[in-house]
Point group: C2
Chain length 352, copies 2
């Protein structure tokens, strides 16, 4: 606490990301990174950027990157907003589109950065409890609101929502923005991007940190109507002119263009997930249905915090959330390689 | 205007950065980039990052980079805050440290992003007019305030302030934060970094975009007391966990460590500046004293906007500010290579 701090700083409870350990030789299944590296074409494009031209600013509007993303989704470049990771994109979304007189709505168990953004921008919000099976019931969001945001699939549960339910919400909720945070959508969940041209209040956010294997590069984007994108651009241009550096732009363009690498990677992760779910179930775990590159699982008899600690002794890191109490017995386990799944199952066989 | 926009978006007047033309073969003297590329050690470090490890998040705390910067200035790592360019650092500074009941003070002619940040965060501010010779008189800032910020050297004038004047302000102004924005300090201006351990309310901001030749990489930092840095970290961790990507970190570390390359580059730019000032003066320009890698100059008889347009016809871009009226006759000219200076002088000789 300090007389020099603005009022807002005293009230903040910052987001705590998953641990990024400096040890090597860990089986790192705690921050939902991709076990497979980026496309060789991405590596090649990145090497070419290590040059004298770094003395020059990048394009403040990231036109080439926006065109590559738009082309990927059959949208126009002015329906695309890019940022320094989808966390930065979401921050601008909260400030530009979700601060209104009526409260913002999001699930009580969801991405734990949402209430942090609300604190940063003094946004009034209400959380809507998940159903008893941890699913999101969109009917519960059909009430007065200044905006709605939810991940699909949800995090940390991994449970996907069907597209027709999202469209039903959009049909009823026409006066505020509906943000579908699709960070994990590429691992078997239906995307809402195809609805963008029909619903001017739909905004979809994506990241290159998961399915595109580029967590180390920091690129995310939002897709929506020109009207919504314009609000994000105005906030961005009042915050930081050049958020996308030359590497981030070049690597992201190459990643969006190498569709074959992307699809193969996703298929491998999905296949490993399905095998892991079977193995964990056989060991006495209950695993929630997942459309993501992670699963949310609890053991029938063993405590979640204790299992997490014991796995750490075997050099395996998974993520555990102490609160809320409803999920404190669950482990969130990132899908790694088949070999990493085997190491996890071997360790659990010893531990259980 | 849209019902979906938050109130703040309707009121924003975003910052407009200097043009980043997509044409090549231009003599680009409009955005104060370095004419010399980064150190070969930086290029080498960057190439090494184009690897499979990009699938992993970077260190959210940028510990290695903070240590490299701290070591450079004989400070502790917890006296360092890093961001995605100094514009992002400044945005967090405005939100975390400069929003108070009393108004923020800054010069009326200065970095034009300052009033934009105030708009974004609803910060009350007062501008203090520059003296008739365009210098900042710090005595004018000894009045009730919620914070003080000024660039040193000032932009777009390039005029440096003496360190003893800054220390005199710090001695009197103990109840609010004083930010010295030293984006251009390395081109012959005295830095206030040496005062940090004596004045807990002093914050100094730097960028790697100018003297370190890395505008394309987006890294900036703030140096100050642990108390001030803690406020910035809290805001950053409520906004974006990982603003510094793997390339930005590796390149910035190598740039901070190659002191010899940095010093040689700065000396060359300073020598070119001094020669250009002589040549422009001989052509009838009045040039303000500069401690930066740009100069601010007006011709005794020719109009500023007209000269800018004519230079553009000769494929030379300089920056011109239409307002305020006091500076509308000036050109802001980035210092390039000696060859670029010659092209500029040759073109002006034709134009004048």
């Amino acid at each position: 606490m300090s007389k020099f701090w603005s009022d807002v700083v005293h009230k903040l409870t910052p987001y705590v990301p998953g641990e990024q350990p400096k040890l090597t030789n860990l089986v790192k299944l705690n921050t939902n990174e991709n076990p497979y590296g980026p496309s060789p074409k991405v590596i090649e494009a990145l090497k070419a950027e290590a040059a004298d031209t770094l003395r020059l600013y990048p394009d403040p509007n990231s036109d080439v990157l926006k065109a590559a993303i738009a082309s990927n989704f059959n949208l126009q470049p002015n329906q695309v907003f890019v940022g320094n990771g989808s966390d930065e994109v979401l921050a601008h979304v909260f400030q530009a589109l979700l601060k209104h007189d009526k409260p913002l709505l999001f699930p009580d168990i969801s991405y734990s950065f949402y209430p942090v953004y609300c604190g940063l921008y003094a946004i009034d919000y209400q959380t809507i409890p998940l159903a008893s099976d941890f699913s999101i019931h969109l009917d519960d969001y059909k009430r007065p609101n200044g905006g709605i945001i939810f991940p699909n699939p949800n995090a940390p549960t991994g449970i996907p929502l069907a597209l027709n339910e999202i469209e039903c919400l959009l049909q009823e909720n026409t006066e505020s923005v509906v943000v579908v945070d699709e960070a994990y959508v590429d691992f078997g969940t239906e995307s809402a991007v195809g609805l963008i041209n029909q619903y001017p209040n739909l905004l979809v956010t994506h990241t290159l940190s998961k399915a595109r294997s580029l967590a180390g590069l920091r690129v995310g984007y939002a897709l929506g109507s020109v009207d919504l994108i314009e609000a994000l651009i105005r906030v961005k241009d009042s915050f930081n002119s050049y958020p996308i550096d030359r590497f981030a732009s070049a690597g992201a363009v190459a990643a969006m263009q190498d569709v074959a690498h992307f699809e193969q990677t996703c298929q491998k992760v999905i296949a490993t997930r399905e095998a892991l779910v079977r193995d964990l179930t056989a060991l006495g775990f209950e695993v929630l249905p997942s459309g993501a590159n992670f699963i949310f699982a609890k053991h029938k008899t063993h405590d979640g915090a204790e299992l997490t600690a014991k796995l750490r002794e075997h050099n395996i890191i998974v993520r555990h959330f102490k609160s809320p109490a409803r999920i404190s017995n669950y482990l969130r386990i990132t899908i790694g390689t088949d070999q990493q799944s085997k190491q996890l199952i071997d360790a659990l066989t010893v531990v259980l």
